[in-house]
């Protein structure tokens, strides 16, 4: 059951990501990104990380993507205009796409070579409730957690400075 659900939501996730790239209209791309975020949350849920799954929905689908849609609505961005393909883009098409696939395959192969055999956990056997996530954040990963919060603080101050400058 877990295997089937994993494959199902994985397929939706990849399909949404491809749709995101091939859509010409900005709003359709944004909507497919929401689908990707939602199916990622369901995959986290299958892995037993219920807290991370719900937070994924609240933060990415509920807050960040709303801001994306907000910007699209404000700019009223319509369909992307199709321009005549330059020579460079044709070269990129011919060599880039197979190259990208080959690179991805090599990456997967390298990762498969180095996987620890005995430490693999089957899907559905793991369980990560909110209190365990909190315990890890405030003991083992405390430094990373605090450094991230400072990073966010700097980003907020940067946004305020930029907004102030354009006003005056």
């Amino acid at each position: 059951m877990h295997q089937f659900l994993f494959l199902f939501f994985g397929a939706i996730c990849v399909g949404g990501a491809i749709n995101l790239l091939i859509q010409r209209k900005t709003i359709n791309s944004a909507l497919s990104l929401i689908v990707v975020m939602g199916s990622l949350a369901l995959i986290y849920l299958l892995l037993g990380a219920e807290f991370v799954a719900v937070v994924q929905v609240i933060i990415y689908a509920g807050a960040i993507m709303v801001l994306y849609i907000f910007v699209i609505m404000l700019l009223n961005a319509g369909a992307e205009e199709e321009e005549k393909a330059a020579k460079g883009s044709n070269v990129a098409k011919i060599f880039g796409i197979p190259g990208l696939f080959a690179g991805g395959m090599i990456g997967i192969w390298v990762l498969l070579q180095h996987r620890p055999e005995e430490k693999l956990i089957p899907i559905g056997a793991l369980y990560g409730p909110a209190d365990q996530v909190g315990m890890m954040l405030f003991t083992k990963y405390l430094l990373a957690f605090e450094v991230t919060s400072i990073l966010v603080l700097i980003a907020i101050m940067g946004a305020v400075v930029l907004a102030r400058r354009s006003n005056s």
Binding site: I27, V66, I69, F70
Partner: protein, 357 residues
Amino acid sequence: MSALTFLIVAVIKIAVTLGVLLTVVAYTVWLERKLVGRMQNRWGPSRVGPFGLLQPLADGIKFLLKEDLTPPYVEKNIYLLAPGLALIMALTSIALVPIGPIIHLFGISTPVQITGVVDASGQASDINVGILIVLGITSLGVYGIALAGWSSNSKYSLLGSLRASAQMVSYEVSLGLSLVGVLLMSSTLSLSGIVHAQLGTWFGFVPQWFIFRGQFVAFFIYMMAAFAETNRIPFDLPEAETELVAGYHTEYSAMKFAMFFMAEYANMVTVACIASVMFLGGWSGPPLHFLPVAIQAFLPLIWFSSKIFFFLFLYIWIRGTLPRFRYDQLMAFGWKFLFPLALANVVVTAFFVAIRA
């Protein structure tokens, strides 16, 4: 419990809850028209049935039979998707709400809650992150309104939905933070766990609800943020009829408009449910031992529904009392008053919880 019994019980619970919810939504509209009518010294609906009680039915038939217009130049797929999205998100969160304790019928025990089950020790249990899922569904509800306004291709709709999404994203922060105090005190994220943390009484009759245990300020922050989340007066700027015709649903007619209308009232009911679960003890209440046993059995449901009625009445009462905010006042109120107050509440609650631990 076998898989088949589980499935049958789940389907029955969903059908009953949905039926009751939709009836409550329909009659909240009736109640609102009636009460606002009395507040403005007129009768309200009085022609269809006794006291106008069949008015929701007549409205429903009217919405179904009216011409279903789709204006030209709309973004058709998204235009059709938006009302459904709004209604689905509004109806889904009721599944997480614990409506009553465990009931025993025909040899089967199950809590009155769609996502609730009886665990091995005979206790009611539900999803471990229930309150977060409710917040997640609420935050997805913005899409219905945002996409409706954008796809309508009309300036009034666009302005209305811009206002709505900015307002809902801003007030969601205070809404979530106001609940943190309760979560700290109950040390669980499960909604039925939160109700169980409020079951006791002082002196045998004063219930130990979180509103009486220091979360008084948080309750008011939650109520104000919830009014803004549901786009109700005094925060109904997304559909301010004096400025924006009807806001984000200007271009919608017939059943598609009715879906937005139902979504708004279903959201009011959900917000009332969460408020009563988090601060007023959900289905718990002071024990009334003098009542006959037959009524005692229904007491949790009576407590829960009277709390919901209180909140719905409050919504209507405030609608009849307060004028609308100006938009800059709304934003300043949310970010400069509610948000710092909610943060202060979290810090103070955390301090007291840490001292007691």
